[in-house]
């Protein structure tokens, strides 16, 4: 089909639309309303209660990463209220043994930043080692490993050159006597340093052949030992996927995801690879149900945030003069407003929360000297008094002149307890858990709880979850799953075994939600419109088909119903998915179409697998 667009220029187009409406006999206003969802999610819908069966279905979908049989059983056994209370106290929920086993394979997830920096040296450090400009570990074994890594790294950076050369004359790689054969097995028995030295002595082709000849488990270990910085990132990604799929503490994982996204940092900014593991564990998850102010202070003092939003290099303009004198031609530094702005716009007050550019500058001055301790590798928060602007400031009409680190803490306290913050956070929570346009009454009630309890997150959630609006027709299936939610819920529906989380994570890149790589401080939007676009929908359909047919790398599942109708039955009872009759009819029509007889098989998928794939890719499954 070949088609052309009208040339678009100014006012002509508007009248063109009107003309079309006239031709079609459609009143413009009416036709516009059909496309908008809020028209059917009116305020009355939020006072219409759900019957009991659908209440369970709703909670099992909205407050988890997808219903699993035990979730539904538990909801039915102890009731919705008790189940939610229990989920909000995750320490009382025994964690899945399977999850703990799987997480054990990622030691990085249990390390401090300092341990991570030591265990997984980054590129800059290795480059410096290669140039002979870095301090080496004193332990001879560790030193050997680091030197070998630096060699591998330098080798990889010369890769381009080598490839180019090998096209003409064969490359003559530097060899050593450890091994230069392509036999990966000989690498297995070696110590890490020996192995790295051996790898450094190979050509790129030999190295690849050696790695390929190993079994998968060994292969991962080997790749990780050669690319340490990448391992930190893959551990982070694997941890998130595994927890979402297997954790019994589903609401805690949802809230961790929510707050990480709210206080977003990105591993695209290099050092944040290292900072993100402790950040998620010790800052976000730790305070997920706690006091908002504690969460806010913890993020403000995390190297992850200090680095991501540049506050670590924001210094008083007066301090700059002193620095210059000390360090000669070092790049001049001064006030950096990034953190101050995002703190108010994204973390607390919201963009319409009533602050001015003047407030941004004043807040930035309060946070001068809040920096990262670079004196030790993997150092944490440090307040550097000599970089702090000591003059008094005025923030949102409040005079702040405590001086020192107290200035920043005063600002955080002021913001954490501000009515705009109460409203902004309540709205954002309701947008994720209730509907894109949550009813004003609910947001009011949540904001009131927020202010009354000084930002007790658990209390605000109680107000929301136990409101009539949450268990209403208005909220029921009002939200489109974000890609991460869609993928995880599909795995949970299939009782899938997630064997290689990192391979599955690539699917999320294609769906438009790469994990931990959201570049902007805004985090991902929770709005339906953000996630519903043609290319992403095609990816969802393909992923659904692939998952059901057991053709997605890193995921396996076994229990397949015998027939299509049995699959629909499973979707309705176990997945808690209200599959529509029209969807069932469409599938029947396509599968029973005699013209498609020869196409019955989808790339080796059985008919029930095809049914399952179509259900996972259906409009029904895209909502929760």
């Amino acid at each position: 089909m070949r088609w052309r667009m009208p040339v678009i220029a100014g006012a002509g187009r508007r009248s063109f639309t009107k003309a079309l409406c006239a031709i079609l006999g459609v009143p413009l206003a009416v036709s516009i309303l059909i496309g908008e969802e809020s028209a059917i999610r009116s305020t009355p819908a939020f006072s219409e209660p759900l019957d009991e069966a659908r209440q369970v279905e709703h909670v099992a979908n909205r407050l988890t990463f997808g219903p699993a049989p035990d979730v539904v059983a538990s909801l039915r056994a102890i009731g919705i209220h008790k189940w939610i209370e229990l989920q909000m106290q995750p320490e009382r929920v025994p964690e899945s043994k399977l999850l703990e086993e799987k997480l054990a394979a990622y030691p990085a997830l249990r390390m401090t930043t300092e341990e991570l920096a030591k265990e997984y040296p980054n590129r800059q450090y290795l480059r410096a080692v290669a140039r002979g400009r870095a301090d080496l570990p004193t332990d001879p074994k560790e030193r050997e490993t680091v030197e070998a890594l630096a060699k591998v790294q330098a080798e990889r950076e010369r890769g381009f050159l080598k490839q180019a050369r090998s096209k003409g004359t064969p490359a003559e790689p530097a060899r050593n006597n450890a091994t230069a054969s392509g036999d990966g097995q000989s690498l297995v028995g070696m110590s890490e340093a020996e192995r790295l030295i051996a790898l450094a002595g190979m050509t790129a082709e030999e190295r690849q052949a050696a790695i390929r000849s190993l079994p998968i488990a060994e292969r991962r270990a080997l790749v990780e030992s050669v690319r340490p910085a990448l391992t930190v990132q893959t551990s982070l990604v694997a941890g998130k996927l595994l927890r979402a799929v297997y954790s019994e503490r589903q609401l805690e994982e949802l809230m961790t995801s929510f707050w990480f996204n709210h206080f977003n940092v990105s591993v695209k900014k290099e050092a944040d690879r290292y900072y993100s593991i402790p950040y998620e564990r010790d800052v976000i998850r730790k305070h997920a149900f706690g006091k908002f102010e504690d969460l806010l202070v913890a993020t403000a003092q995390s190297p992850a945030m200090l680095y991501y939003l540049d506050n670590y290099q924001s210094v008083s303009p007066d301090a700059r003069l002193r620095r210059r004198r000390q360090r000669g031609n070092r790049a001049p530094r001064g006030l950096n407003e990034n953190y101050a702005r995002e703190l108010m716009e994204l973390h607390t007050l919201g963009v319409d929360g009533g602050y001015t550019q003047k407030d941004v500058t004043e807040v930035a001055r309060c946070f001068t000297g809040w920096t990262i301790d670079v004196r030790t590798p993997g150092g944490g928060f440090r307040f550097a008094p000599q970089l702090h602007d000591t003059k008094s400031k005025v923030v949102l009409g409040h005079k702040i002149d405590a001086g020192g680190m107290e200035d920043g803490l005063r600002v955080l306290s002021l913001l954490a307890n501000h009515p705009s913050t109460a409203r902004f956070i309540s709205t954002k929570l309701a947008e994720r858990f209730v509907a894109d346009q949550p009813p004003a009454g609910l947001v009011d009630a949540m904001s009131a709880t927020f202010l009354r309890t000084h930002g007790d997150i658990r209390e605000v959630l109680r107000t929301m979850f136990f409101s009539k609006e949450f268990l209403s027709e208005g909220a029921y299936r009002a939200k489109v799953k974000q890609p991460f939610e869609m993928v995880v819920s599909a795995l949970r529906a299939l009782h899938a075994d997630l064997t290689q989380p990192v391979a599955l994570a690539r699917a999320l890149d294609r769906l438009g939600q790469p994990l931990y790589r959201k570049q902007e401080p805004t985090g991902y939007s929770a709005m339906n419109a953000e996630w519903v676009n043609s290319a992403a929908l095609v990816e969802r359909m393909n992923l659904a088909l692939g998952l059901a047919a057991n053709q997605v790398r890193g995921v396996r599942w076994r229990d397949i119903p015998a027939t299509g109708p049995a699959t629909v039955e499973m979707a309705r009872s176990e997945w808690m998915l209200p599959v529509s009759e029209s969807t069932v009819a469409s599938i029947h029509k396509a599968i029973d179409d005699p013209a498609q007889e020869q196409l019955r098989q989808f790339r080796g998928a059985s008919e029930p697998q095809l049914w399952a794939g179509l259900l996972l890719g259906s409009p029904e499954f895209q909502r929760h």
């Binding site: 088609w3 009208p6 678009i8 036709s31 939003l309 790469p514 290319a535 019955r600």
Partner: protein
């Protein structure tokens, strides 16, 4: 803003239905518009990692260049014998890196312009931040929600737009193209489909009959886009277009296919990485090595792209950018570190080419920015602003780069005013 536009888009689809609409609309539109074939396309290429501009367009007329880069400098052009190791003379002062030999015919045909010493007023030397600023189009401000290439499109204002109006080659939609106007990321045109005919037909009917308004509309839109793209992928490139290997060439070939198929493409984006050459930027000779290999890929790919487009090159402008430049001085490991100003290539039928634009700030110690980097004399927004204003005819001077009002006085006038711009005024 966004919800309004999405909302209107939904409305338009409701009015027209999907599937048959574009054809019908195309016929209806023909009476009211000039040739739809003259649809303008802006292609943006991002060189991620901060390319070394000083070794890309070589200031061989500048003796400081040779002083600063004893191991890295590309030799001045040798006029007698064509040497593959020397810069290719452009104007007696600047020369192309020999790897870019493929671009010389475009320069000679005045289809290629160079803007030198261009960059961002923000001093950051962080790849992450500088890319973010250049994609958002707001130096120093991180909170901008959308990218300038998305804002560059004229607001469709409720009008049905092509599902492939804005395309980024790759698996994820990049920052530069995010925003209110619909934009899609496509990695490979031939893969853009639901796998398995039976599944595709089932999905098409599941979504078509769904009671879920939002997903029904988008589902229809998706199957429309698939039908369009499947047509395109069947096309082959122009026989004269000899695309090299590599991801940039593959992506340019796909962009060219979309342009030639005339499916409503207006803006396209592709990136090419691997420019962060701290170590061994050059090989045994300055004109060899990592940078040379990459530049050859880029030059050959662009040259093939131009040939592939044939006459359609008249409607196309392609612009390259990189987040910042590299240090004027070479470092101790045959490489360069993070710098400041860089350059942009601008090529296309309507470009007033064959000229290096922008004031040259010089490379002497006092002329360097912070005594180490090429200084910025042209704000990157003035180059992009001129192209968006003149080529895409988007005259929103304050909306394209929030916080920065475009002024034609600052434009470098690298867009031919006798060309398309004049036509559209007539």
């Amino acid at each position: 803003m966004q919800s309004r536009r999405v909302f209107l888009r939904g409305a338009a689809l409701t009015m027209f239905g999907a599937g048959s609409a574009p054809l019908w609309l195309g016929r209806a539109a023909q009476g009211s518009s000039a040739s739809t074939k003259s649809r303008k396309v802006l292609v943006a290429i991002f060189q991620r990692g901060a390319a070394d501009g000083l070794n890309t367009v070589v200031p061989f007329g500048e003796k400081d260049y040779y002083k600063l880069r004893p191991n890295l400098a590309i030799p001045a052009p040798v006029r007698a014998a064509a040497s593959g190791d020397a810069a290719i003379d452009l104007d007696g002062f600047f020369g192309l890196h020999p790897g870019l030999v493929g671009l010389k015919p475009l320069w000679d045909a005045k289809e290629l312009a160079i803007v030198n010493a261009v960059g961002s007023p923000d001093p950051t030397r962080s790849h992450f931040d500088a890319q973010d600023y250049m994609e958002a189009g707001t130096p120093g401000v991180k909170s901008t929600r959308d990218g300038w290439l998305n804002r560059a499109m004229v607001d469709a204002d409720g009008h049905p737009v092509s599902p492939v109006r804005a395309v980024a080659m790759g698996s994820a939609l990049p920052r530069i193209l995010r925003g209110a106007e619909p934009a899609v990321a496509i990695d490979r045109l031939e893969d853009f489909q639901v796998r398995g005919r039976q599944a595709a037909s089932a999905f098409s009917s599941i979504y078509g009959d769904s009671a879920d308004t939002l997903l029904r509309h988008t589902g229809k839109e998706a199957f429309d886009a698939i039908r369009i793209v499947r047509q395109v992928s069947a096309q082959t490139s122009h026989p004269g277009a000899d695309y090299p290997n590599g991801p940039l060439a593959r992506n340019l070939r796909q962009i060219a296919a979309l342009i030639k198929a005339d499916v409503g493409l207006e803006v396209a984006f592709a990136d090419v990485g691997g420019w962060d050459h701290h170590v061994n930027e050059v090989g045994p000779r300055p004109a060899t090595g990592q940078l040379a290999n990459l530049l050859r890929q880029v030059g050959d790919a662009l040259s093939a792209f131009r040939k592939d487009l044939g006459d359609r090159f008249e409607d196309v402008v392609l612009v390259t950018m990189s987040e910042f430049g590299r240090t004027a001085r070479e470092n101790g490991t045959r490489g360069t570190d993070h710098g400041h100003a860089n350059l942009m290539f601008v090529l296309g039928g309507p470009v007033a080419g064959g000229k290096v634009y922008g004031e040259w700030p010089g490379l002497s110690d006092g002329q360097l920015y912070e005594r180490r980097d090429l200084a910025v004399t042209t704000d990157f927004r003035d180059v992009l602003g001129e192209l968006v204003t003149q080529h895409l005819q988007n005259h929103d001077r304050t909306g394209l780069f929030p916080g920065y009002s475009l002024s034609p006085q600052r434009f470098r006038r690298l867009y031919r005013m006798d060309g398309a711009a004049a036509q559209s005024r007539a």
